[in-house]
């Protein structure tokens, strides 16, 4: 299979790093080779946050080449515009889904999981692995609610 490139971007505190961790884990549980690259440190201080997730049989570069992103998940308008050049010509920009999520989900803390649900519709990762990955990366007291929101994003 061709390597799939997923780029998350936004600002500190939006749960971007957690979302990227969940996809990466889920893909690994399904037997794919995964590389996930990000630079932390500034996330808690409101700075820009980006995470590159690459899934395939054998992944080399930890970062996505400009213009090669299959799925762009932006959590903020300014960051979306800054990173739009990373998208492939026929790549999928999920920013409209993010805007929709803002209206649909009352607690902004769960928007990241909603977006994972949306992303899951495009990827061939088993539901079992998604569940296992969420269980691994999300605090037990928030797990049920997150799974619920994930399913909401995953609808249709």
């Amino acid at each position: 299979m061709e390597t799939i490139n997923i780029l998350f971007c936004g600002t500190g505190g939006q749960g971007i790093l957690t979302a990227a961790e969940v996809v990466a884990l889920a893909a690994m549980y399904d037997g794919y080779h995964v590389k996930k690259s990000e630079v932390h440190g500034m996330a808690q201080r409101g700075g820009s946050v980006e995470s590159h997730v690459r899934i395939g049989e054998k992944v080399f570069s930890p970062i996505i080449e400009a213009g090669q992103t299959d799925y762009l998940l932006s959590f903020e308008k300014g960051e979306h515009d800054r990173m739009a050049c990373m998208l492939k010509q026929n790549g999928t920009d999920l920013f409209n889904e993010f805007v929709k999520a803002g209206k649909l989900i009352s607690n902004p803390k769960f928007v990241n999981t909603y977006m994972l649900g949306v992303l899951a519709k495009h990827l061939s990762i088993s539901n079992e692995s998604w569940q296992k990955a969420m269980k691994e990366s999300i605090k037990p007291q928030y797990l049920d609610k997150n799974i619920e929101v994930f399913m909401l994003g995953n609808k249709k």
Binding site: T11, G12, G13, E21, A24, L25, M28, H33, V34, K35, K36, S37, E38, V39, H40, G41, M42, Q44, R45, G46, G47, S48, V59, F60, S61, P62, I63, E65, A66, G78, E79, R82, P108, K109
Partner: protein, 571 residues
């Protein structure tokens, strides 16, 4: 079934070292290397310690090797500068049990003051250098590092970069293999580096390097892949992965042991390909060596010595083009909402004194609108630079600002020096009880060890008095009179220490107080409230003040700036 985990480069190398029987680990926090030591703290078999600084970390780790257990030092690249003194002589004395020095370089300066290339230290210090390209490779390679260390009686430099340290991938996790402790034998000729002994050890070291080069020549990890003979690329570290991505059909010489250079492999590769291009981040370290060997090769344009490489820049390098694609300006980081430093910087801005800053979260006070920090060089330099600024410009013209962890690291020496050399001036210790910039690690003033155990707590007030400060005062960081206190102390013409204390930093303490309420009718749109540079309070597209209740921690520093009562504090 194999046990795979999604591990970062830092975690993978620490896991590898654990499996290799490491019993001692020491470090000082610094991005991108902090989580190496943090990973070791989970193992009861490993004595994992935060040291007060990198020189001390290096020496205690070297001491553990002398005492007979496998030992590891880790820090960020500039941390290695701090331990250069013991490092340069440990290469002469050699080790007892295996000793590995991990350097986390930061090309692109994601969180550093420079982007020095620590591969050059291997040549300068005459020690073997290993460089993995990925987390999975780091895990395997660290075991080899310990074997080389013991086989050749030398510390081994193990270099990763931010991109490797913070990338995660599937890594196979295995079990620990215990290694027998090596008895320590009194041997002055080896362990006492006085001139007569060191002279012999230097002769021995030069011979060792020849043997290490033979080893490097035969090491399968220095690997040749022949495909298209028209293009031969020599690369190391993460650059290898970018090359594989962008030029999958090129012939490649991957150098994994980058010092001593595998000259035989380089010659063999040169004989098999028509053109050689060197793809490496930072300095032209490999390129210069190949040219020195009399082999024709093309390196990168000098503009590519700046910043990180990526898959597309490899194409520029092969085509001989200069760097044109500089990173787009991203959102600047700011102090966390509720950060105890914010009130001090708002006060400092009003006093208009020159502020000698240091390394830590407070560098975030340098940019507008706070603009209240005017020098930053290296760890501890606030106190010393303040000493000269006040000496030359006047004792009320400058102050030093330093955090509690940085003060313990190397600020205290500056204070002793100030007292000894009769400096008058104010040192402000921002004591949030943690090492916040790197994610809240404990330090001596916290009174908790790396493993979370209670220990002797350093008393900063007594320490500063003992160093020779004339006045030591403590003030609460939430106090609105910090400004007056700074003015009062700068006017004393004495050596003063003002400890601005907060019981818990927001990095640890996530409890919040109620956010102030915006009373829109009273707002005159002077925007003084947003000059505190807090992400929780912003101007919306219509010019109205908006407070984000999710982010706000209720510190009320913004409300204190409002003269019109438009930000109502809720008690």
């Amino acid at each position: 079934m194999n046990n795979y985990k999604l591990l970062s480069g830092n975690e993978a190398l620490a896991q590898g070292a654990y499996e290799a029987g490491v019993k001692f680990a020491a470090s000082y926090p610094g991005t991108p290397a902090t989580d190496i030591l943090e990973y070791f703290t989970q193992f009861k078999e490993v004595d994992a310690q935060w040291a007060i600084n990198e020189k001390v970390a290096f020496e205690v780790a070297l001491g553990a090797s002398f005492a007979g257990v496998r030992s590891i030092y880790s820090s960020k690249h500039v941390g290695v500068n701090v331990c250069m003194d013991p490092l340069m002589t440990a290469t002469y004395s050699g080790i007892n049990a295996g000793f590995v020095i991990v350097t986390g370089d930061d090309p692109g300066m994601h969180s550093s003051q420079n982007e020095q290339d620590n591969r050059l230290i291997a040549k300068f210090a005459k020690i073997p250098l290993l460089e993995p390209s990925s987390p999975a490779e780091a895990k395997k390679l660290i075991k080899l590092a310990f074997e080389i260390s013991e086989r050749f009686d030398t510390p081994v430099l193990f270099r990763i970069t931010t991109r490797i340290a913070h990338t995660k991938e599937n890594v196979e996790v295995g079990t620990r293999v215990e290694v027998n402790d090596k008895p320590f034998e009194k041997n002055p000729a080896k362990y006492v580096m006085v001139p007569a002994n060191a002279y012999k050890k230097h002769i021995n070291l030069e011979e060792k390097l020849i043997k290490l080069q033979e080893f490097s020549n035969n090491l399968q990890e220095n690997s040749i892949e022949i495909k298209d003979k028209k293009l031969g690329i020599v690369c190391d570290s993460v650059s290898y992965l970018y090359v594989k991505e962008t030029y999958p059909d090129a012939s490649v010489l991957k150098l994994t042991m980058t010092f001593p250079f595998a000259d035989a492999k380089i010659k063999e590769f040169a004989s098999k390909v028509e053109n050689i291009v060197v793809v490496e981040e930072s300095e032209p370290f490999i390129e210069e060596h190949i040219l020195q060997m009399g082999i024709k090769c093309k390196g990168k344009h000098y503009t590519y010595r700046v910043g990180e490489l990526n898959p597309e820049s490899v194409r520029d390098i092969v085509e001989g083009k200069p760097k044109t694609n500089y990173p787009k300006p991203a959102r600047k980081p700011v102090l966390c909402p509720g950060c105890p430093h914010r009130a001090t910087f708002v006060a400092l801005r009003k006093t208009k004194v020159t502020v000698a800053g240091d390394i830590g979260c407070y560098t975030l006070g340098a940019t507008p609108p706070l603009s209240a920090l005017h020098t930053t060089v290296c760890m501890g330099s606030s106190v010393t630079i303040m000493g000269s600024l006040t000496g030359i410009l006047g004792s009320d013209k400058a102050v030093a600002v330093i955090g509690d962890s940085t003060f313990c690291h190397s600020g205290v020496e500056g204070l002793i020096n100030c007292a000894y050399n009769k400096v008058k001036g104010v040192i402000i210790i921002l004591d949030n009880g943690t090492t916040a910039m790197t994610g809240a690690q404990p330090n001596p003033a916290t009174g908790i060890t790396a493993k979370g155990e209670q220990t002797k707590k350093l008393d900063l007030e007594k320490l500063c008095m003992a160093c020779g400060a004339d006045i030591v005062e403590v003030i609460d960081s939430s106090c609105s009179s910090i400004e007056n206190k700074i003015k009062e102390l700068t006017a004393t013409n004495k050596l003063c220490v003002l400890i601005v204390r907060y019981s818990l930093c927001k990095m640890i303490d996530r409890t919040k107080k109620p956010a102030p309420k915006v009373i829109a009718d009273k707002c005159k749109k002077c925007y003084m409230c947003i000059t505190v540079d807090c992400p929780a309070i912003v101007k919306d597209e219509n010019g109205n003040i908006k407070l984000d209740n999710n982010l706000c921690a209720g510190c009320n520093v913004c409300a204190e700036q409002c003269k019109f009562g438009a930000l109502e504090t809720t008690k």
